[in-house]
Symmetry: C2
């Protein structure tokens, strides 16, 4: 599909033999000109080597290329790991004849095993030579681990006769409890945006989208979101209205990716939005929504299509937030299941059970205390999640 | 077994038809004389009706009897729920001709369904009449939900020619992430202890034992631990040495129950102690141990018998605690698997995999930063946990 592209960005993916079955496992995104760049990264104290490298390099606000491998996280790999991350960048920079300091690196996969850097080195020339404007799907495939589908979202904006694009790619599936940044996601735009503005807007968009999802409550050591802007469209994001529209577009692309991530969570069969209203503050609502979204008992009940609202009440109750159980209403989509803390009986239960059979729905919890609200996306917790993660390394 | 008893305490269990298959589901413990009592309860904001009732009644420090049902949590049941909890106590008190205010109540099971109080009322006379000194096993069976085995622990202490006992019973299995108190546990002693001392020692023992375990990270709405002391042995816990010995005995009984609880966690096949050492403070160590113990990814790897230490590092790193990944050592029992943040290679991996095949072992994480230490008991996370909880209400 030729439309899934962003001017001046070339992308590609190739197999280096890090994953089984010769699946693609190394990808690049290359900007034809030096782009401005912003990034948000994991807050885990254990940071993978490429995260450590990027944190240093991103300070310049400039980047020409990103190289990513799946199948190995290059984390807990000591000095060699850091050297391997640098080598990935160096080889690509040498081949493209660009500044290695302007190459960013990301890795995803098993933690604690040395990166087979020679396998990656061997494929970089072919990967770089074949990268093209239509190569984003190959790139999206190359960064997948236990993801079952590639995740790409694009939006285009017309401004004064010109068009710019925001094109995003992500991978997720497990070890996902965002904290500031999450998972791997790469976003390109051909708008012209200063590094400062880029950073502000990325932080804001991350908070609104990818920091509002959970799959299993574990925060990855490799979480990285990078946003590159190369200005190729000729549209500069300059005035307030430009910023508003760009932010909205970026939020939209990242929210689309975030929803795809949860939907394709390891073993997930359902995408569920937890909406909390009527809290004393937005922060309170957020804490309760997150606690419900993370509850293993809520998530296993979702898998069982069981409208077990008692678990929702119990999860809300342990969030450590002011609440009065006897004021709480709970809805599954629009079915009122709990009113003032008590169940609404058999017919409500029956209607709620119908909602639970859907692949996407929401659960609304109204505390009836104030105006605070927040929402969170979660998935169900299935037998397959356990199977996938019990056997992950074998 | 006549030895599993405590002087002056009568116990029993009966089926009232709350659970399927006519399993026992209502139990009593009756003290022949008024006992001193202490209790710790869930910190969940959503508290079941019997917890609300007990919190009020325990202020007197005196109790004659405890009545417990399984199969229904009597939680989120409104004013009727509170009335039902009172009725359970009233009927038992009327039959025994004791003060209803001295009867404590506990419930466990599904949240949000009205208690079929008439079924419980119907069996109370027979239950009370048949309660005996040897009835603790029937009581232990009557409080089980998804537990697969009853949980009883007893210790006896000789003091100046007399003997006193500390006899504990517990039920657990799911919705277990202790916060101050946890699950249901009832402990009897025939020692003579003041209510104040009883309370101090129970709080301390709970912190050391049942607040150091996790099964699934969800805190129940019905958590209750009650400790009754009726003085029947003639041993008064009076001086410092008495207190030290009693505390140690109580800790021992509760730790034995706590280990049984984790071992019989829903779907669990392994009991694993997470030991963190070398933290800057005990509090830091505790936070890291708890985060590892709760991690779904660590727990599924345990189920898969996969020595995936990267997940242990990642969980430690997201605990929000000061650490230097490059100083961390990790051992499975005595097998050094990670040294200074890097894996110890194939032969260590092989030896660690052998440890993981055991049904009980420990994981030691040494941060090498200071003297802080803590430990936590957890279990693995199996396919059966999901199965049990997907179908819990059906």
């Amino acid at each position: 599909m030729t439309e899934i592209q962003c001017s001046g960005f070339l992308a590609g993916g190739i197999s280096a033999g890090l994953k089984k079955n010769r699946e693609k496992d190394v990808g690049v995104i290359i900007s034809e000109v030096t782009a401005h760049v912003a990034g948000v990264f994991t807050r885990n104290r254990v940071k993978a080597a490429p995260v450590v490298l990027d944190l240093e390099r991103i300070k310049s606000g400039k980047s020409r290329a990103i190289i990513v491998n799946s199948g190995n996280a290059n984390c807990c790999t000591g000095e060699k790991g850091l050297q391997d991350a640098r080598t990935m960048a160096d080889i690509l920079a040498g081949h493209l004849n660009i500044d290695p300091e302007q190459v960013l690196v990301a890795s995803t996969g098993v933690i604690g095993q040395p990166l087979p850097i020679e396998k990656i080195e061997a494929v970089i020339p072919e990967l770089a030579d074949n990268a093209g404007e239509g190569g984003i799907e190959d790139f999206a495939a190359a960064i997948m681990t236990t993801d079952t589908v590639p995740k790409i979202a694009i939006k285009k904006v017309n401004r004064a006769g010109k068009t710019y694009s925001v094109l995003g790619v992500a991978k997720g599936a497990g070890m996902i409890k965002p904290d500031m940044a999450t998972l791997l996601s790469f976003i390109c735009t051909d708008a012209d945006v200063t590094p400062e503005l880029l950073n502000q807007m990325l932080v804001r968009a991350t908070r609104r989208t990818m920091n509002r999802i959970t799959i299993d409550g574990d925060t990855s050591t490799n979480d990285t979101v990078l946003l590159m802007a190369n200005g190729k469209s000729g549209v500069a994001i300059a005035n307030k209205e430009d910023v508003r529209v760009f932010q909205k577009t970026l939020d939209g692309v990242m929210m689309e990716l975030a929803r795809m991530l949860v939907k394709d969570g390891e073993g997930a069969t359902k995408l569920v939005e937890i909406i909390v209203r009527g809290a004393l503050t937005d922060g309170d609502a957020d804490q309760i929504a997150a606690t419900i979204a993370h509850s293993n008992l809520v998530k296993t009940a979702l898998f069982g299509e069981d409208a077990n609202w008692g678990r929702i009440m119990a999860a809300a109750g342990r969030a450590g937030i002011e609440m009065d159980p006897e004021k709480v209403d709970i809805r599954f989509n629009d079915v009122l299941m709990v009113e003032k803390g008590c169940g609404c009986g058999a017919s409500a239960e029956e209607a709620a059970t119908e909602v639970l059979k859907k692949s996407e729905f929401n659960i609304q919890v109204d505390l009836n205390l104030g105006d605070g609200g927040a929402s969170y996306f979660t998935c169900d917790f299935s037998v397959d999640y356990v199977r996938i993660n019990a056997d992950y390394r074998s």
